[in-house]
């Protein structure tokens, strides 16, 4: 039967290079010594480890738990001991290490107990979906989207087509091709499970016409089943999810939407196979088929690989010709990523490892200016204007790039493949996308910061108002009191604006600094403050009188002087008391604590004192009253003191560090000596053995060998003596 096949715009026909690896059947990769299971292998949140270092784990045991809806668990791919949970190189273009669980294999490959569900139709869909989630199955073709999210169709969405993506349009890769040729029945079984889950009107398998064997195998496996194997013409990138949907159904997934929006669910061949294994065999996703190819690989072909196997292990197994390898790519030549470190592990999405020679993949030519030839626009499978996006990305005009639908770019690389100016277009788009995302995040963050700042400001204003209110109340109360006493010649000002801050600021600092003896101190402080206030008020009255030219000036002046003396005395008393209070804990502390802490405390106190003095000076300067000179000198003195104590503290800290280092260094010679002893011992043993052998066979210069043994003995005794001496010291 023939279905209508739609066409996608653009596309390219790069050399396929599939023959190198398509002809050999799937081989089992050997068990690696260690596997490194990354906690994040796909889009979404990373898993959370549920084993500890030292735990024994079995093959298939869950070792990382999913942490959200778009998150999947990870499993031990072999039995062994958890050796580490920590950073290990993984494939990521940032080259940043990521958390992996390292399992040292015990070589036994002991499985955890498996629970197959052969009669899945008798179970609820939720049960089967949970099984698929628990098996950690992610899309095995592209970005690795958790399959369960796609299969868990909402009840109000009607699925018309379930599509199995067996296109495999990237050059070099043959993993799906081989899998279909060899295990078509199992793939179809998996597809049937998925069909049972999503209840589509029709089930389609899309395969490119360059895989005749796979097409035959799949046709045979589908005989008598309501599954339609649809052959599509070879063109890159027909295997993109949205591209395949369009090819087979003519439907377009809305920008930013999901295939389910148009009634389509699309799954990869490897995923169908994994679903079958999970449901019918009870095995989680712990291995996959990976193509090893490229001219630097001797035994090209497909390997069944345990997830977590280091790439280096696989390459060496496949006969890597190290000197000829010029790049190392995980994935295909069109969309794969450079590997920066061969110790990165194979993950769920690793469909191909490519180790090409320089001749095979020549170095990219230097970027030339864009001449707007439009080749890229003709190659683009989603009808973008790549050259415009390039200009915008280069000029950092990201809003324009976004307007030209940058985010519909699937990064297939067709544009960069055809560009006559060798412009790394995809990198420009990735840069632009990343910058836009970062900018959005920063905008969100700055909005958040604004809210927080405004909330804080509002809170402070409220506090200030409350304080002000209280102050006024207090002033009123005081005024009332004074009025009843009837002894106030000076009018009670409602608030002494300039005196108040000092009075308020002082208790704030002193309260935090000196927790002890609050009663005495507060009393003195209030006294100081009130005399100060009276003095200030009097001074004001004097000033007004002077201005008005009153004749009581002399009397007023006298009074002001008296009050000033009083105020100074009160203040002195307060400061003295405060210092005494402070001195007390200081006096006790150093005895118990280590000197550094004391220095720290002292430095902090000095700094506080200096700051307080400075504040006072500023106020004095602002109001123009007080003995500015002496305040200034006081500030300078305190600053010097504070600096000195800070310096002392720093010095002490440095000294401490030095001491620690010195201690470490002191430990070193012993170690060295021990090593020396061990070394000389080994040498001695070797020499003795050589001598024995020579004596037994009667060959060789026995005299020289004897001499060597004696020398080695001497060296050994000397080393031992040195060690003893050191240990004695």
């Amino acid at each position: 039967m023939s279905r209508r096949i739609w066409d996608i715009p653009g596309g390219i026909h790069p050399p396929e290079n599939k023959a190198q690896s398509a002809g050999v059947s799937i081989r089992q990769a050997t068990l690696p010594e260690r596997v490194y299971i990354p906690l994040q292998q796909h889009i979404g949140a990373p898993a959370k480890p549920i084993v500890n270092v030292g735990d024994r784990v079995l093959k298939g045991q869950k070792i990382g738990e999913a942490t959200g809806f778009v998150s999947l668990p990870v499993h031990a791919s072999t039995s062994g001991v958890v050796e580490a949970i920590g950073l290990h190189p993984v494939q990521h273009p940032s080259q940043i290490d990521s958390v992996c669980i390292t399992i040292k294999s015990d070589g036994e490959e002991r499985w955890i107990e498996r629970h197959p569900i052969p009669d899945y139709r008798a179970h609820s869909k939720k049960e089967i979906l949970d099984r698929i989630r628990d098996a950690g199955i992610a899309g095995m073709g592209g970005a690795g989207f958790p399959s369960v999210v796609k299969l868990g169709v909402k009840s109000d969405t009607k699925i018309e087509q379930l599509i199995l993506n067996a296109v495999e349009c990237e050059p070099y890769i043959t993993a799906d091709d081989r899998l279909m040729q060899e295990r078509a029945d199992q793939i179809v079984a998996g597809l049937e499970i998925m069909a049972w889950l999503v209840e589509p009107k029709e089930i389609l398998i899309g395969i490119e016409d360059n895989k005749p064997h796979a097409i035959n195998a799949m046709r045979k496996a589908c005989e008598g089943k309501p599954i339609d194997v649809v052959v599509v013409p070879t063109k890159y990138p027909s295997g993109g999810e949205k591209q395949l949907i369009h090819l087979l159904t003519g439907k377009e997934v809305r920008s930013g939407g999901l295939p389910a929006d148009v009634g389509v669910v699309c799954q990869n061949t490897g995923t169908a196979y994994a679903v079958k294994r999970a449901v019918l065999d009870g095995e989680p996703l712990i291995s996959r088929i990976t193509t090893l190819t490229g001219d630097a690989v001797t035994h090209k072909g497909n390997y069944e690989v345990l997830l977590g196997t280091p790439v280096a292990d696989l390459l060496l197994q496949a006969g890597l010709q190290r000197d000829r390898m010029h790049r190392l790519v995980m994935g295909g030549p069109m969309m794969g990523f450079s590997i920066h470190d061969p110790s990165v592990p194979v993950v769920k999405t690793t469909n191909c490892l490519l180790a090409p020679t320089e001749k095979e993949f020549p170095d990219p030519a230097p970027e030339q200016p864009c001449i707007r030839c439009g080749s890229c626009a003709n190659a683009c499978p989603v009808n973008l204007l790549p050259q415009q996006l390039y200009w915008f990305a280069k000029a950092k005009e990201f809003d324009k790039a976004a307007h030209f639908n940058l985010f519909d770019c699937i990064e297939c690389g067709a544009c960069a493949y055809v560009c006559p100016s060798s412009i790394p277009l995809v990198q420009y788009y990735r840069f632009a996308k990343g910058s836009i995302r970062t900018a959005e995040q920063e905008a969100r963050k700055s909005d958040h910061a604004r809210t927080r700042f405004e909330a804080r400001k509002a809170r402070h204003e409220k506090e200030e108002q409350e304080k002000e209110l209280k102050r006024q109340e207090r002033a009123k109360a005081a005024a009332a009191k004074q009025a009843t006493k009837k002894e106030a010649p000076v009018k009670p000002a409602p608030v002494a604006a300039d005196a108040a801050p000092t009075a308020v600021a002082m208790p704030a600092t002193s309260a935090t600094d000196t927790a002890g003896e609050p009663d005495e101190l507060t009393k003195l402080q209030t006294a100081a403050a009130s005399t100060m206030k009276r003095y200030k008020d009097a001074q004001k009255a004097l000033e007004t009188a002077e201005k008005a030219g009153s004749d009581h000036i002399d009397a007023l002046r006298k009074k002001v002087e008296q009050l000033k003396a009083k105020a100074d005395a009160a203040k002195d008393a307060f400061i003295a008391a405060k210092n005494a209070a402070k001195a007390e804990p200081e006096a006790h502390k150093p005895a118990h604590d280590d000197p550094l802490a004391a220095l720290k405390q002292a430095s902090a106190d000095d700094f506080n004192a200096y700051k307080a003095a400075e504040e006072a000076l500023q106020q004095a300067e602002a109001s123009g009253s007080g003995d500015l000179e002496s305040l200034r000198t006081q500030v300078a003195q305190l600053k010097a003191k504070s600096d000195a104590s800070k310096a002392a503290m720093k010095e002490a800290r440095a000294k401490e560090k030095e001491e620690i280092q010195a201690r470490n260094a002191a430990a070193d010679p012993v170690k060295q000596a021990k090593m020396e002893v061990a070394k000389t011992q080994v040498l001695l043993k070797k020499a003795r053995k050589a001598l024995e052998a020579a004596q037994a066979s009667g060959e060789g210069d026995i005299a020289a060998l004897t001499q060597a043994v004696q020398d080695a003995e001497a060296a050994n005794t000397q080393a031992e003596a040195h060690l003893k001496q050191l240990e004695g010291a």
Binding site: I96, D363, P364, P366, E367, Q427, Y428, G434, T512
Partner: protein, 198 residues
Amino acid sequence: MDVLTNNLGAVTALVAMALVFGALLGFAAVKFKVEGNPIVEQIDALLPQTQCGQCGHPGCRPYAEGMAAGEEINKCVPGGEDTIRALADLLGREFVPLDEEYGQEKEHKMVAYIREDECIGCTKCIQACPMDAILGAAKQMHTVIVDECTGCDLCVEPCPVSCIDMVPVKVTPQSWIWQPPQGIGARPGNLIPVRNLA
């Protein structure tokens, strides 16, 4: 007199046209008025909201108000060149490089980090932080809520024991982005030495 009568028609026509178009313009101005954000809001939205005060204003909004009133647009250090560009774009002014007097643009985004074993719990940094991003109580060790810190620097100076450092924000695989290619004439890519291939 002749001149006047000869040109009367033209003058009348011009006056009439002026009136008609004036009325049209006036009508359009009322009818199609763009209800935009007040300019201060728009400027404020472009500022990084670090509230660091490096521009000489006590926070971002006051500076936004200043710029709306004609102040220079090149004083925002944490925003840097990108912000100045956006401001120039919004206000229709010429781009000017960052005024060095207010500080130098940092290469990385920074966050404050308190060396906790050295902190004496004085709460001075808590009071200085415009974001309420420092957690702690008197005599207790303090710490920075990294996600809330905008890297404004304001907590560094008040610390009596100098235990606050500004450290670059750590790049994670999630926050990492591709750098642009080096441009025309450059070969894309770089060589990396091979490790771990026994």
